[in-house]
Symmetry: C2
Subunit: 457 residues, 2 copies
């Protein structure tokens, strides 16, 4: 079956899950092995995510550690935690033996602290152990936290022929050879080679004659986000990581970058939607509440603030009850404009398309708000006058308030993310409920102030 | 300078831009060439994005087409369009000659139709021309639209030694050799090899003896989004593209996938924020208005709808004016809950972590809404009673309405994206202003209906 060249079309069906559950129930190990042998480890992980813990443990104990280590990496985080809790330190160490250093370190970092030491002491391969320990020392949001120790490096003094021989040995530990890094005697990175260059060269040439001296690299303490930006901008598939003395420490490959990108995009999306921590639809009600309630409380206090403002203008309520009708309109418009402006700025900051000229940008948002405000206000003028029969002054109030609120929301929505960014705070937190709530409150206040000015109650 | 191994730290400074502008002004071609020689093409593109069109054209005409073709690909889309408009068909054809087929086809696809033919007819290399024409026939959102024709393929009948010789020739056209694809006489994909496998093998071995028979592939008509999902799930750095007869047509590399991912994430983020088309902070006020006004109009009609509802309950306004105070609270809560729920569902659908059990999911959101609703209602009860001195029945109305509105918003926010997804519509359109607006209107209606029920006006 694995010999067929097939379009990748794995589909996780209820039938398949049931089939696996049945094989487990009747302890048909051969049947299970045979069935699962056809699947990629990422597919098996998807199946395990559907099973209960006992069933998943059954499959994990059944398969060889080469496969299960890869499966572990692909499991949903919560399920992985449960599986790891059910494995002994020795068993985890065996899984880790099969993984690249970066994945191994990630798995260990997820364990409770006392278990970490126990697992590490159970790793047999001393070199692997030392490398993992080194990686664990770096913060996960830095280049060091992303890199793997596995790489192919050659010394500038070697010949092409000798190089190929040695690479055959080194390459066995490296899943994919992207670039071959050239170092000098002090292990300082001095250049790179591609396998292509190597096979195109003559066997007796020296590496120092053929290597490419320009090589991009990142420092081990660089921010992970900056590494993503650099690799994406320069279309790199791997980048070497060096320390402050240019010593070659490891390399980061694009698949790790893809994961970081995805996480960042999801985090920004969730922040904009008012969800704090990283939750998924599958999480428990408790976890979902924990992620959602804080923002709802912010919105609630905003609502209470708005209630106080309206209460403060209770004269207006009595004299001009029509004004009350348009509170939802003012509020919705303020919220929508604020979210739009902040989202554009947050994205511009993330893409580096926004330069520092804050006054110029605020002026542009002011103009933009004016254009949108005039358009909306004109339509509302017609509707309020003809449908709700508001007086001339009331209509004027509503329209001027709309224009003012749109301009205000657009500038607040622009200013806050830029301000946060300048203070070193992730501007993405300023989108969603935060902007909406502050604009709600300011919007309603503006509305009543303009009403008081024009109608004079 | 280019020989230094340096941490990638290109910074686009005003000074650098001014320096380039000055060199252009005094026509110092040598100075410009010398200055720009040190920069990566992606950095030069960043500089050109800051210049005016005449200056940018000056630099493009100055540099050789090998560099400028890469720069073109990295320019901001609007600027690229302007530059292309200022180049003759022959000049564009020269740039395209230097590009890989996928990039070449992308550039041509951006041109007006009559120019496309003119440019294509100016491409000298007949093979390159034919390949580009083939790629232009595929829809940009399919595997065919992403793939490049450049790849390294070997026939199963070749020997390892013969293979290495021929690969040396083929590989010259291929920027990065990820995998070597093995085909049979009919050009059908039958397996793959890595360069690593090839250098580890003996020279007289046959390819048919050493190749790996399992190879992932996608069909040329598969959706681009599915290709992204597959490459990400299986951690692939390149994937071959085949037609319905398993003939090898091209390959897709991970850097193209990274671009698609980024675009998708940005599109979803913008949809959630209520911005329709793909705009950037730098775009003109007209373009920004076009992207933002439609959603503001939706919000406006929602606001008018809310005004009609409140107007319909004008008795309540007279008898229980305190109810008006809490309109913003009800509305803000409904909007926030709706956005949260829809964002989680949209993300779950994108990640395939949501299965089809819609009733179960709605029940979960119901429970979640109940928990959040009770928490918020309790706090509001205290505040409304002690601060706003609402009567017992008014407080009860506000609290019950809050709970009902939260549950309703959570279920609407969950139902709509799932419904759209089932109908084949991108669920991401259902977040942001769309959900907020519908929840605003339903929320206020619910509020007054409950008030009528309890207070009976």
């Amino acid at each position: 079956m694995a010999e067929d060249i097939e379009n990748i079309q794995f589909e996780l069906t209820d039938d398949l899950v049931k089939q696996v559950e049945n094989l487990i129930k009747i302890n048909d190990d051969d049947g299970l092995n045979q069935l699962l042998a056809d699947f990629h480890y990422a597919d098996i992980a998807e199946i395990l995510d559907e099973l209960n813990l006992d069933e998943a443990m059954y499959v994990i104990k059944l398969l060889d550690s080469e496969t299960t280590s890869d499966i572990l990496m692909e499991l949903n985080e919560d399920n992985r935690e449960k599986v790891l809790r059910n494995l002994s330190a020795k068993e985890i160490a065996e899984e880790i033996q099969e993984l690249d250093t970066d994945d191994a370190a990630d798995i260990i970092a997820e364990l409770p602290e006392e278990r970490q030491l126990e697992v590490i002491s159970n790793i047999q391969d001393e070199e692997h152990k030392a490398e993992i320990k080194e990686l664990l020392a770096y913060h996960e949001d830095t280049a060091g936290g992303l890199m793997a120790k596995e790489l192919v490096k050659v010394y500038e003094t070697w010949t092409v022929g000798g190089c190929l021989r040695r690479i055959r040995v080194q390459a066995k530990d490296v899943t994919r050879v992207h670039s071959i890094y050239v170092v000098n005697k002090q292990n300082k990175l001095i250049g790179r080679l591609s396998l292509k260059d190597l096979i195109v060269a003559k066997s007796d040439q020296k590496i120092s004659d053929i290597y490419i001296t320009s090589v991009d690299s990142v420092n081990v303490h660089d921010d992970a986000i900056d590494v993503v930006r650099v690799m994406q901008k320069y279309d790199l598939e791997a980048i070497p990581v060096i320390d402050d003395n240019q010593k070659l420490l490891g390399r980061i490959t694009i698949d790790d970058i893809v994961d970081v990108m995805k996480e960042e995009a999801e985090k920004d999306y969730q922040l904009a939607a008012g969800i704090t921590s990283d939750v998924e639809a599958d999480d428990s009600i408790f976890e979902l509440t924990k992620a959602r309630l804080p923002w709802l409380l912010i919105g609630m206090f905003g609502g209470i603030g708005a209630a106080s403002i309206i209460n403060g203008f209770s004269d207006a309520m009595v004299k001009y009850p029509e004004l009350m009708l348009f509170i939802p309109l003012i509020q919705a418009t303020a919220g929508n404009v604020g979210v739009q402006s902040s989202a554009i700025v947050v994205q511009g900051l993330a893409n580096d398309t926004i330069d520092g000229k804050i006054l110029q940008r605020l002026f542009k948002e002011f103009l933009l708000g004016l254009v949108n405000g005039l358009a909306i206000a004109f339509i509302v003028l017609l509707i309020s006058h003809f449908i709700f029969k508001t007086t001339y002054y009331e209509s004027l109030t509503i329209c001027l308030a709309l224009i003012a609120v749109i301009i205000m929301a657009a500038t607040i929505g622009t200013f806050i993310p830029i301000f946060l960014d300048k203070r070193g705070i992730d501007p993405a937190v300023a989108t969603g409920p935060f902007i909406t709530t502050s604009n709600d409150v300011f919007g309603i206040l503006t509305y009543f102030l303009i009403a008081k000015l024009i109608l004079g109650f």
